[in-house]
């Protein structure tokens, strides 16, 4: 069924060009994107705005045709439609027919997905309960808040019990409680044996729930690998925020220790290696400067992400020797 035993999504050398206007000039937004998603994992697809996350997802959903390359889901070409009863999709900021109720819209999507008449009502009620919209199932969607529409979007993506779920910014528009609930829901999908592909820019969510991550910047995959590859490394540092530090002391610290210094108005931020923290703090307090904050810092997904964004057009690399 799939090319490799447990490979669910395979994206191979996808290139996408758009024509901005009527002219012949083309703008390339994806440059040979390649990655795969394995069975029963939560895959985080991370990148800054305009990196090509949504374009890639739209290619996977068959909404956009790739200029070059190919993409397969569950062994089927993404331009086919029959295999889609096995996938669910939540677009970014979903919008639904405002004249329908939550129950009616889910019934509509269930019918499109080929859910039998006998199962439809039961599934609709269950899904609305899961996304905490049981109280609003007969309200018109025009009365729904952004967060409620997001929940409807998640419910429609799951209405036909798909094997693979694609979520574009699933936490968008949700309050902290809602985000926690959706995080738990995504984890429960994995526990049920489903595979989840998640587009997001909220790195804390990626760190807490994803098994593997790919970082895309300017249409190129910069890093991909297991989430562990992006988490704590040997290099530990601490940020010290100091107020009223005499300039000569700052110069002295710069000579004695290996540290990064950044002025923030009247304050100075020092990034110090963990082994030097006590010595630097002693020196600072001796001259009567005020220590505003001490924040232990670890190299994390955020660093890798920011480095990748800053690197711009540098060649693709892989952290931790993976993949």
């Amino acid at each position: 069924m799939t090319d490799r035993g447990n490979e669910i999504v395979r994206v191979q050398g996808i290139v996408k060009d758009f024509r901005p206007g009527f002219g012949l000039r083309r703008k390339r937004v994806l440059h040979g994107v390649t990655f795969d998603v394995q069975e029963n994992e939560i895959f985080g697809f991370v990148g800054p705005n305009g990196a090509g996350k949504t374009t890639t997802l739209k290619i996977l959903m068959g909404l956009i045709r790739p200029t070059e390359g190919r993409a397969r889901i569950l062994g089927s070409d993404v331009l086919e439609s029959e295999f889609r009863h096995q996938i669910g999709f939540l677009p970014e900021n979903p919008y639904f027919y405002p004249f329908l109720t939550a129950r009616e819209i889910l019934d509509f999507y269930a019918r499109l997905s080929g859910v039998s008449a006998s199962d439809r009502a039961r599934r609709v009620d269950r899904l609305l309960g899961i996304v905490n919209l049981g109280h609003a199932m007969d309200a018109r969607l025009r009365t729904f808040s952004k967060g409620m529409l997001q929940r409807v979007g998640i419910a429609q993506a799951l209405i036909h019990d798909p094997k693979v779920v694609f979520l574009d910014e699933p936490m968008s528009g949700l309050d902290p409680l809602g985000r926690m609930e959706i995080r738990d829901l995504i984890l429960s999908l994995r526990a049920e044996g489903k595979t989840v592909f998640m587009n997001t820019h909220i790195l804390s969510d990626v760190e807490s729930i994803c098994d593997r991550v790919a970082i895309i910047v300017k249409g190129r995959i910069r890093h991909q690998g297991q989430i562990e590859d992006f988490l704590p490394t040997e290099r530990r540092e601490t940020d010290l925020l100091i107020s009223s530090l005499p300039p000569e002391t700052a110069d002295d610290l710069g000579e004695r220790f290996e540290l990064e210094m950044r002025g923030l108005g009247e304050r100075l931020e020092l990034r110090v290696a963990e082994k030097d923290v006590n010595a630097v703090l002693d020196a600072v307090m001796r001259v009567g400067a005020e220590v505003v904050s001490v924040t232990p810092r670890r190299s994390s997904l955020e660093d890798v992400f920011l480095d990748a964004v800053r690197a711009g057009d540098e060649t693709t690399s892989t952290p931790g020797g993976s993949r």
Binding site: L63, E82, F89, Y97, F99, L112
Partner: protein
């Protein structure tokens, strides 16, 4: 079977959406006014009063139902793309052809329903004015229904790849030309230039011939309508609609939804 169920779901939803369109009720209201105003217009004449009344009514039905088909139809696909509702629909096992056919079927049913209401208004006004009602009247209105079916397909085709404004211009243009193709064809055949005659014949085959569906004259003046011509019109409507939706599906299936 699954395909029919999906098309049915899309058509039902399109119908539910279309009947909430305020433009539809505005045009329907104007059509009722025009049908009723035939009574006033008929008083201006001493002869053929009933014919004038019914001619006015049938013309109003054709004009306003075509207006509904065009102006509701042109936004069919564009609205789905603009509001991004198409993203979730096409992520289900729905082919783009099924989507297009579902939209067409839903709007065709909507315009047929409003055509029935206009026909009812026509019958009431005729009965109140003492004008005769014959089976030819219902046959002529049924043929208008076939014309609308083709027109909705044309609107759907243009809506599949262009903006509502351009789709409206193209569809209105084609509707007007469609009522003149026989005259244009006849004119071209009188040309001494062979290429003009050939082009005229080619265009006649390509462009819709909406006069096939126009039996107003026969209905209003109590003339018989040839049943053979009616069946020919049915076959023409089905064939032209099928070809138009096929071309629309081919274009639509290549389209990117950014």
């Amino acid at each position: 079977m699954g395909s029919l169920l999906r098309i049915h779901a899309l058509a039902t939803n399109t119908f539910r959406e279309a009947i909430r369109n305020k433009l539809l009720y505005t045009l329907l209201g104007f059509s009722f006014l025009m049908i009723a105003s035939g009574v006033l217009l008929a008083t201006l004449s001493y002869v053929e009063v009933e014919e004038i009344l019914q001619d006015m009514g049938m013309s109003a039905i054709r004009f306003f139902s075509a207006g509904i088909a065009i102006f509701v139809g042109i936004g069919l696909i564009h609205n789905e793309v603009d509001r991004r509702t198409i993203f979730t629909i096409l992520s289900k096992p729905v082919s783009r052809s099924e989507f297009l056919i579902g939209k067409w079927a839903g709007l065709t049913f909507t315009v047929w329903l409003q055509l029935a209401l206009m026909g009812l208004a026509f019958a009431i006004v005729s009965a109140l004015a003492g004008a005769p009602l014959r089976p030819e009247h219902s046959l002529a209105i049924t043929l208008i229904g076939l014309e609308l079916m083709v027109l909705v397909a044309v609107a759907t085709l243009f809506s599949a790849f262009t903006t509502p404004m351009l789709a409206a211009l193209f569809t209105i243009g084609l509707w007007m030309i469609g009522h003149l193709t026989r005259d244009l064809h006849a004119l071209s055949q009188q040309s001494d230039v062979e290429s003009v005659a050939a082009a005229g014949s080619w265009l006649f085959q390509l462009l819709p011939d909406f006069e096939v569906f126009n039996k107003t004259l026969e209905a209003v003046h109590g003339l018989p309508i040839d049943r053979g011509e009616v069946w020919l019109a049915v076959a023409y409507a089905v064939g032209y609609t099928g070809c138009t939706l096929l071309v629309g599906s081919m274009i639509f299936s290549r389209r990117d939804f950014k």
